[in-house]
Symmetry: C2
Subunit: 465 residues, 2 copies
C-alpha cells in the first residue's frame, strides 16, 4: 500500500460487498459453539510439526440485531501462559487486518513462506512474553462481517471502540481464566485512534458495577496516527530532508499549500507531483526493497528470508486457501477474498467521528495512570518520527528522563532513542518503517518486554571514537 492509496482512501467512498451468511457450524460433536473448545485450532495448515501451541480462533458476536461478528485469533504463550499478561494487538488502516498483518507479518508465532502454504517460526514471536489476542476490527475487516450491511454506513471510531469493548467482555466470558489478567493493548498506525479510544472506553466502563472490570495496565502505539493532517504535511518535509524530492518540488508545495490540512486541488497536485517523482518506493519505509514479484512460487527459502518485501502477498495466498479458512473456523461463505487492507473501500471518509487530533485522548489517559508508550520506526514517511515527536511535545508533559540511546542488550547495536515524559514514553526504532516489527523484529520485541515489565529500555553503549 503506497502513499497514494492511503491518501485516496480519505476521499473515495465505495461500497464494501459483504455477504450476510452465518458462519458454518463445524464444531466437533459434544463441543458447544460459542465456547472456547469450539474455537481450538488443531493445527494451522503448513505449521511446523514440532511446534506445540494452544491456538484459538473464531467469531464473537457484538450485536445480535445487526449480526456483527468480529473475528479473533488467540495464541497462548507456549511457556507458563498463566503467569504472562494478555496483549491485544490492533492494526490500523482503517480497514487493515490484525490477523493477517499483525499475526502473520509482525508479532505472531509464524511467517508464511514464499509458496503461500508453509508456515515458518518467527524467532521474535511475542508469544515469548505474552498471550496474544488479534482482533479483526472494525466489523468488515478481514474475516469479520455483518449480516446487516446497513451497519457499514455508520462506521467510525466511536462504533469501533464500543464494538471492541463488547468483544472483549464476551471474549473474557469465553476465556474466563483471563479475567483480571494484566491486560495491554498494542498496535500501530490508525490504531493510534483505536487504542486510546478503546482504553478510555474500558476506563469508563470499568466503573459500571454490572460489568467485570478489565485490568488494563497500559497501551503502546507504533507510528500512530495522532494528527493526520500534520503527519501528511510532514511527509514531504521528511522526503525533502532525505533528498528524495527536489528543492523545486519542495518550494512548489510551500507555495501552493497553506498549512497541513490544505486539501485544495492545487496543493494536492503539488504534493502528488512531488511524491510521484520519487519513483516506486513505499512511503511506509522509504529505504525498503520493493516487491517486484507478487506471485507465490515454490519455496526455496527454507524459512531463511521470512520477512521479504513480498510477504504480504504470500499471507494473502495463505489465508485464501479453503483448508486454512476451515481450520481457523472462518466464514467460508463470504463473497470476497480475504485482503490485508480494505483501504480503497473502507476509509476515513466513512469514519465521520475520526478526531483530527488524538492529543486530548492521550492527555486524558495520562491522568488515569496507565502505562503509555509510543514508538516510531524512523524510516516511515507516512507517519514520520518528526511529526510524532512534535505531537508529543504539544502535550507538554514535562521530561522525566531525558533523551538517550537504547539497545536490546549488551553487544547489540543502537536500536533507537528514548525520552521519558511524565506519564508517557516515546521511543524511536532505528532503521524500521511503519511496521516496526517487520523491519526490526528484535528491537520490536525488546520494546515489548520492557513495556510489559514497566522497566526503562536498556541503555546502549556510549559513543566510542
Amino acid at each position: 500500500m503506497a502513499l497514494r492509496a492511503l491518501r485516496l482512501s480519505v476521499v473515495v467512498v465505495a461500497v464494501v460487498a459483504l455477504s450476510a451468511l452465518p458462519r458454518r457450524a463445524d464444531a466437533a460433536p459434544g463441543i458447544r459453539p460459542g465456547h472456547k473448545e469450539a474455537d481450538v485450532i488443531v493445527a494451522l495448515p503448513g505449521q511446523p510439526p514440532a511446534v506445540q501451541l494452544r491456538q484459538y480462533s473464531g467469531y464473537i458476536n457484538v450485536n445480535r440485531a445487526a449480526g456483527k461478528s468480529l473475528f479473533y485469533y488467540f495464541v497462548e504463550a507456549p511457556i507458563d501462559p498463566a503467569h504472562k499478561p494478555l496483549v491485544l494487538w490492533l492494526n490500523g488502516g482503517p480497514g487493515c487486518s490484525s490477523f493477517g498483518i499483525g499475526a502473520f507479518q509482525e508479532v505472531g508465532p509464524f511467517r508464511v513462506d514464499t509458496e503461500g502454504r508453509t508456515l515458518c517460526p518467527n524467532p521474535f514471536s511475542w508469544t515469548a512474553a505474552a498471550n496474544l489476542l488479534f482482533l479483526e476490527s472494525p466489523v468488515g475487516v478481514g474475516f469479520s462481517y455483518a449480516v446487516n450491511e446497513e451497519v457499514y454506513k455508520t462506521m467510525g471510531d466511536n462504533m469501533t471502540a464500543i464494538d471492541s469493548h463488547i468483544f472483549l467482555l464476551r471474549w473474557f466470558d469465553r476465556f474466563p481464566e483471563y479475567k483480571g489478567r494484566e491486560f495491554f493493548i498494542v498496535g500501530e498506525s490508525y490504531a493510534g485512534h483505536y487504542i486510546p479510544e478503546l482504553a478510555i472506553t474500558i476506563d469508563v466502563q470499568n466503573k459500571n458495577p454490572k460489568l467485570t472490570p478489565i485490568n488494563l495496565k497500559g497501551i503502546s502505539i507504533g507510528n500512530g496516527i495522532l494528527e493526520f493532517a500534520e503527519e501528511q504535511a510532514e511527509l514531504y518535509e521528511y522526503l525533502w530532508h532525505r533528498a528524495f524530492i527536489s528543492d523545486a518540488a519542495h518550494d512548489t508545495i510551500a507555495k501552493h499549500c497553506k498549512g497541513p490540512d490544505d486539501l485544495s486541488t492545487v496543493c494536492q497536485a503539488a504534493r502528488d507531483t512531488a511524491y510521484g517523482n520519487t519513483g516506486d518506493i513505499s512511503a511506509f519505509n522509504v529505504y525498503a526493497p520493493t516487491c517486484h514479484d507478487k506471485k507465490v512460487r515454490p519455496t526455496d527459502s527454507k524459512c531463511m528470508d521470512i520477512a521479504g518485501p513480498c510477504l504480504a502477498h504470500f499471507v494473502e495466498a495463505y489465508l485464501n486457501q479453503h483448508q486454512v479458512q476451515t481450520a481457523i473456523h472462518a466464514n467460508t461463505a463470504l463473497k470476497y477474498p480475504w485482503v490485508g487492507c480494505r483501504t480503497r473501500t473502507y476509509n476515513l471518509k466513512r469514519f465521520g467521528d475520526s478526531p483530527t487530533s488524538m492529543l486530548p485522548h492521550l492527555k486524558a489517559l495520562v491522568t488515569t495512570g496507565i502505562r503509555i508508550w509510543l514508538f516510531s520506526g524512523d524510516f516511515d514517511a507516512m507517519v514520520p518520527v518528526t511529526a510524532t515527536k512534535r505531537s508529543v511535545e504539544k502535550l507538554q508533559l514535562g521530561v522525566e528522563k531525558d533523551w538517550r540511546a537504547w539497545s536490546p542488550g549488551p553487544g547489540k547495536d543502537v536500536a533507537g532513542y528514548v525520552i521519558a515524559y511524565k506519564g508517557l514514553v516515546l521511543a524511536t526504532v532505528r532503521g524500521a518503517g511503519h511496521m516496526v516489527t517487520v523491519d526490526q523484529p528484535e528491537r520490536g520485541f525488546a520494546l515489548l518486554t520492557s513495556f510489559l515489565r514497566g522497566e526503562p529500555l536498556p541503555s546502549a553503549a556510549p559513543q566510542t571514537d
Copy 2:
C-alpha cells in the same frame, strides 16, 4: 573511524613514525626494477585459484632527493582491457589508503574473508568496466613512504596534487600502452580535494609541450568534502532530522554555535555532547550495523557476507602478513604496521593549504568541459547529502535535466535521485553511507558505468498505486 576521530584529526598534530629504508630488491633475475614486469603480482595470497587477473603493484619515486615513494596497485580489466578506460581511484582522509580501502573494501576485484587470509571475489568489481589504478597518496599513507622525514612537515593539498601528477607521468612511462587512454579519476571524501586539484594540475600541465598529455575525460567524487565547515555543521542538522539527537541538544547547539566554522570551546562542547548521546553509531553511516568483534576468526562465511561491519579489520590483518607484503612488493622494513587511515597523526592541521571551499575548483573545471559527476550516499552524516546539495546549488550552474529517480535497470529498486546541471551531474545513492560501494555495490557500479559512458543514469520505474 567515527566522528570524534575525524574532528580530532583537525587539531591533533603528531609525528608519523616512518622508516627511511629503501625497498628490498626482490625482482626475479632478468627483470629490471622500475619496469612493469618487476611489479607483476603472480597471485595475491589467498586469492581464488580460478581467478585470472593481471595485477601489478610497487613503488614510483616522485622525488629522488627526498626519497618519496608512492605505492600503487593496478589491476587490469579481465576482459578486453585494451578497449576499456583507465580509472584512478583515490580515497580521502587525509591519510586513508586507496589500496586497503578502495581496492579491498570498495571497488577492487577482491574482498577479505573473516579470517583475514582468504580473498573472495567481489561480484561488483569495477574491473568489469575499467582498468583500475589505486594510489596510496599522499606520501606517508599506507605503504607509501619517504626516506627524508622532513617532507612530512610540508604536507598539503598542493604537494599532494604535484606528487600525484608526477606519479601519473612516471606510471604512464612504466605502462606506456596506457598513454593516451581515456582517463578518469574517481574517489570519495577528502578526495573531494585531491581530485579537483589533481584534475586542474593535469589540465595545466597538459599544456606543457615537454610532457605527454594525460587524456583526462572526467572526474567523479562520492560524499566529497567540498566545504568542510558547512558539512560539519550540517551533521547535527542531519542527525536531528532523523531523531538521533534531541530537540534540547539541537537547541543548545543553535544557542552556542555561531555558524558552521565556529570552533569555540563552548560550541564544540555542545556538538560533542549531542553526538556523544547518539550511542555507538558511525557518523559515516548512521544506520549501519556496528562492528562488535574486530578479531579475525576462522572463516565460516564461504564468501557469503563479504561486506560486514568488521571488514576493515580483516583487511588490516590481511595486509600486515609478511607473505602478502612480499607478494605485492611492499617495503617490508617500514617500522609501523599498515593501517587503513592514519587520521590521528596525519590530518588537516598539517594540510596548511587545504582550501575552505572547493567550489572555485569545481567552477574552473566546469569550464574545461571534462565530465564532472558528484554522488552522495544518503546515510552519511559526516558529509551529508543535504550539505552537498547546498554546495552544488551555490555553483549556480543552471539545470539541464531536472530531478528524477534512477535505478540500475528494469526490475531494480530506486537507487537514488539525480539532477543534471550544465556541466555537472549530482546523484544520490539511496541507503548508502560515506563509502557508497561498501553499502550499495550494485548501485555504485551502475553509477560508474553510466559515468564512464557519459550516459544519463537509467530512469527508475514511476511511482505505482
